[in-house]
Amino acid sequence: MENSTQESHLRSENSVSYESPYPIYGMSFSPSHPHRLALGSFIEEYTNRVDILSFHPDTLSLTPNPSLSFDHPYPPTKLMFHPRKPPSSSSDLLATSGDYLRLWEVRDNSVEAVSLFNNSKTSEFCAPLTSFDWNDIDPNRIATSSIDTTCTIWDIERTLVETQLIAHDKEVYDIAWGEARVFASVSADGSVRIFDLRDKEHSTIIYESPHPDTPLLRLAWNKQDLRYMATILMDSNKVVILDIRSPTTPVAELERHRGSVNAIAWAPHSSTHICSAGDDTQALIWDLPTLASPTGIDPVCMYSAGCEINQLQWSAVQPEWIAIAFANKMQLLKV
């Protein structure tokens, strides 16, 4: 049991559950439809589904919308709604990654496939994509990461490759925009690298995992304070906090999880809060201090799910809600 005096538990009356017919992984809150969520299935076969749910905070309920459910090839590795409200339209744009980057239009009662993006020169197949990030400053750009060691910047309107970079020495597992022309990525080669599209001939390594064969799995860039990023290492209970002005040396390592960390998310409304979740079935919220503590940092909030938590999203439109995914369940936690 945690000994932190600041610790408090999220109670069941502050959570909403949804049980899916299949395991889930990808999740996204819609910025333009505040009560809409997308969930992607995680079935290790070709046939997978994406479901659209409606969240009702007044009745604390989640209801699926069957007419907005659609087939998706392979489990979506990431789901993301368009970061802004599209002008004069009630429909939503949803991007999914997997065997390709795909764009879907979510209308009132149907979902249409809009675009399919392929960056392969010689093949009708695209190298499998591990993740992507939609540029919220310039929403015409999406950056994808792939097992073929490349990151690709896409022009969404023209469905073309704007830039493709051989970003790392091994598979690239996650990617995140910092601002309009700067992104960062993490890789099986154990490094966090920053790229500036104004200087495509160089990248900057700002962190390398302390053990040479330990991949980095996820990356979160603090949008409230772009000097800070967080990353996690494979099979590690640490959340590593990086300051891009102090390359290679983490400013903090959060080590209270008792199993591997699977997901991290900065608070969308605070520059010092971050949430992490992992195999110890816990979701922890941390408040990062201004001075490093000699005894280590304790989380300010803890929630226990029934089993390993695989995915985590912190809603930007309703920042009092965090979504976690474990097994077949998705839960919304109020913070």
Binding site: E44, K121, E179, T248, T272, P289, A292
Partner: protein, 236 residues
């Protein structure tokens, strides 16, 4: 590398397998240079590692490849060529050895006829993806502080280089200021930021890290693949 004279080679015995399995179960994977001694095996570490990864690891799948696995293997091989470890990484429970052997045994002859089937599928594909040609750029990575010890001299193909100020770039030439460009741009785009700085540059923090750095185990086997192979794949 362990001294080759006297080290046992050839088929592994059941006793050796048990010793290796017990050792990995106790100490975990990695640090393969310590495994022969810990396990009491007269084997080189590479042999121990390969034995574990290809045969003894508990999650390895046995038996024939399923239709889905074969289909995925074909697609991945088309993308990645003979990079068996990458392909195997996408086939849960399969080792790179299994994938390579399966391909070389069954697929070399079949792949030609499969391409014909592929053409038929391609014609019927309504959502045919748009294939556009574009240049693929390989940025040169750099770090802005001391090189990690475990990289020094270990990688022939290392793409890591020291700080270069030769060419004019949009990033400030001074190493200490490269990130200011990033932050300046942020202001131009009016990104909301309350400028909270929640970590001081505490000396203790860095000293602690330096200590960890000096103790990093530098002895490790690289699995790096040649960049030229990869580039040929991309350009071909």
């Amino acid at each position: 590398m362990e001294g080759s004279s006297g080290v046992r080679k050839g088929a592994w015995s059941q006793i050796e397998d048990n010793l290796l399995r017990d050792c990995v179960n106790l100490h975990g994977e990695g640090k393969w240079h310590l495994v022969p001694k810990r396990a009491g095996l007269n084997r080189c570490r590479k042999s121990c590692r390969l034995r574990w990864l290809n045969y003894l690891k508990p999650n390895i799948k046995r038996g024939d490849f399923s239709e889905d696995e074969v289909d995925l293997m074909i697609r991945l091989h088309k993308l990645l060529g003979n990079r068996w470890s990458l392909i195997a990484g996408r086939l849960p429970g399969r080792t790179s050895n299994d994938v390579k052997n399966y391909w070389n045994t069954y697929m070399r002859r079949k792949v030609h006829s499969h391409k014909k089937d592929n053409n038929i599928e391609k014609q019927a594909d309504e959502a045919k993806p748009i294939v556009k040609h574009h240049e693929v750029i390989k940025p040169v990575p750099r770090t802005l502080s001391k090189t990690s010890p475990w990289l020094q001299g270990k990688f022939v193909n290392s793409s890591k280089v020291g700080v270069s100020e030769e060419g004019a770039t949009s990033i400030s030439g001074s190493a200490g200021n490269w990130w200011e460009t990033l932050l300046d741009d942020k202001e131009d785009n009016a990104v909301n930021n309350n400028n909270t700085c929640f970590f001081g540059g505490a000396d203790g923090e860095f000293n602690l890290w330096s200590e960890e750095l000096t103790s990093i185990d530098c002895d490790f086997v690289t699995q790096g693949e040649s960049w030229s192979d990869f580039l040929l794949d991309l350009q071909g």
